[in-house]
């Protein structure tokens, strides 16, 4: 049994413990302890019923934790506790965990950490490595998050949009350390999509698949960022693209459009073009219009200006840009790109250098510096 199959059982096992009357925070710790034991014991002695094994061991760990607790209060409460109403299924429990871990009372960083641990089954150490913070810091973040949601009823349904936001954040973190957060986000979104029939869950899953499909082409061998127009499209993962498009089309037929479906539609149009010249920029602009209507997001407006520049020429793109606030992140980078296409390399080079100075990460900064360097070299030559 591999690591991710093992981790798929985590939310259901936590659910069983909670339904037996355990509090969420202690149950979650107990399941983590059981996981550690599973990783140690299963290679030599694999259980016939992995989930049953985990439930048994986790329940024992939970009882141990209660015994270790100096106060007997909770044990007594447990004896008196009313059983949870209704006969919950494993699916209900897992779904309830998604909502709990994305609870609006949590900050995004806490919701992300708690989701990765309680729903994803990652260890605190793995999460800490992925987010480049010390393990003790991440442990504190998780335990504070658990305290924050400790009073929330476990079976309370929430707003699926909060869950999607958390999964989207995990996906966007990409990968560092030995945990591939993008792949983990896809796994969790896939699992969510099997439990809940919602067009935006499908939209987000499609968006992730379509972006993930391009990942092999997005960075060069030396770690440098390769922009969409220059990517070797033969390195895109066609299986993921096909799946993403299927998932998206099924969602779109329901005629309940949302932000993630619109973003996925844009990603699908890029994925559909065998060469950059074949890109259907007119349709992409229409989807950005839709996205701007729905969200009013300045980032969507900025991306729309790029698409307008491709569909209707650089002048139209610059005109679309003129309506936007120049202090927007990546504004200078977009302006540089449009000015270069407009045949003004001097302005473009200056703007690329400026954009490099305010880039949000090193790969982007290095890319923008190279763009400035390329134009300045041409101008000297």
């Amino acid at each position: 049994m591999n690591d991710s199959l093992l981790r798929e059982l985590v939310p259901a096992v936590i659910g069983v413990l909670v339904r037996r009357g355990a509090d969420f925070a202690t149950a979650e710790d107990a399941v983590q302890d059981a996981l550690v034991e599973a990783v140690r014991k299963w290679p030599d002695d694999p259980p016939l019923d992995p989930k049953g094994w985990l439930v048994t061991v986790a329940w024992r760990k939970f009882l141990d934790a209660l015994r270790a607790d100096t106060s007997r209060r909770r044990r007594e409460e447990l004896v008196d506790a009313e059983p949870m109403p209704g006969q919950g299924t494993a699916v209900d429990d897992t779904l309830a965990l998604y909502f709990l871990c994305a609870h609006p009372a949590l900050t995004s960083a806490s919701a992300v950490a708690l989701t990765l641990r309680a729903v994803g089954g990652l260890t605190t150490r793995q999460i800490a490595q992925a987010y480049l913070v010390p393990e003790t810091t991440m442990a504190q973040r998780i335990s504070r998050a658990k305290r924050t949601v400790s009073g929330v009823r476990f079976d309370q349904p929430g707003d699926v949009a909060t869950v999607l936001r958390v999964l989207y954040l995990v996906f966007n973190e990409g990968y560092s350390g030995d945990v591939d957060l993008a792949a983990e986000a896809i796994r969790l979104t896939r699992q969510l999509a099997t439990m809940i029939d919602h067009e935006e869950v499908a939209g987000l899953l499609a968006l992730m698949l379509l972006h993930h499909a391009r990942r092999p082409a997005r960075t060069g061998p030396d770690g440098r960022l390769v922009p969409l127009a220059e990517q070797d499209r033969s390195r895109w993962d066609t299986v993921l693209i096909a799946e993403g498009i299927d998932v998206l089309q099924a969602a779109l037929t329901r005629d309940r459009l949302g932000e993630f479906q619109a973003q996925a539609a844009i990603a699908a149009l890029h994925a559909d073009a065998r060469t950059v010249e074949e890109t259907d920029w007119v349709q992409i602009v229409e989807w950005y219009d839709e996205l701007v209507r729905r969200t009013g997001s300045p980032v969507a407006r900025l991306n729309r200006a790029v698409a307008v520049g491709e569909a209707d020429g650089s002048r139209a793109g610059l005109a679309a840009l003129a309506d936007l606030d120049p202090s927007l992140p990546r504004y200078a980078a977009v302006a540089a790109h449009l000015h270069e296409r407009d045949g003004d390399p001097v302005t473009a080079a200056r703007l690329y250098a400026q954009a490099a100075g305010s880039a949000p990460n090193l790969p982007e900064r290095d890319h923008l510096l190279r763009q400035a360097a390329r134009l300045n070299t041409q101008l000297r030559g």
């Binding site: 030396d222 770690g223 440098r224 080079a349 690329y352 250098a353 490099a356 100075g357 305010s358 880039a359 090193l362 290095d366 510096l369 190279r370 400035a372 360097a373 390329r374 300045n376 070299t377």
Partner: protein, 135 residues
């Protein structure tokens, strides 16, 4: 072993020998520079002398407390004359001489024309732990 902080400056250090700003290099020179820095860190990891590093954005602000119930006072972006740190690396090495040797290597990173930048780096010893034997 002793820890040293190597500081790289956007501004505030004496001028480097090869002082052309990065956007005036060729793209290949930019790539070579980035690769040199990456290789340097990888090599220190393999020798067991690497602790950590962080590159910093040139955007920065000074902040100070302004009294009870008032929001902090901010000042910035920094004036052109102010010292501006571009990034830091912490190394853990046997001797002061080794720290100086490594900073020298880092300063040799290639810049315009593929030639070393000869950039001035600041080497700052960190205070060590109190040794048990001196109790």
């Amino acid at each position: 072993m002793a820890k040293y902080l190597l500081l790289k400056h956007y501004r505030g250090a004496p001028a480097a020998v090869n002082d052309a700003p990065m956007d005036q290099w060729t793209p290949e020179e930019v790539t070579a520079h980035i690769q040199y820095m990456r290789d340097f860190a990888t090599r220190l990891q393999s020798t067991g002398e690497y602790v950590g590093e962080q590159a910093l954005s040139p955007e920065g602000t000074f902040v100070r407390y302004d009294g009870e119930g008032r929001p902090p006072v901010t000042d910035g972006p920094f004036a052109e004359t102010k010292d501006l740190v571009a990034g830091w690396m912490v190394i853990d090495v046997e001797t002061y001489e080794r720290a100086i040797e490594l900073a020298g290597e880092l300063s040799a990173a290639p810049g315009a024309g593929g030639k070393p930048i000869h950039e001035w780096l600041e080497v700052r010893p960190a205070y060590g732990e109190q040794a048990t034997a001196t109790e």
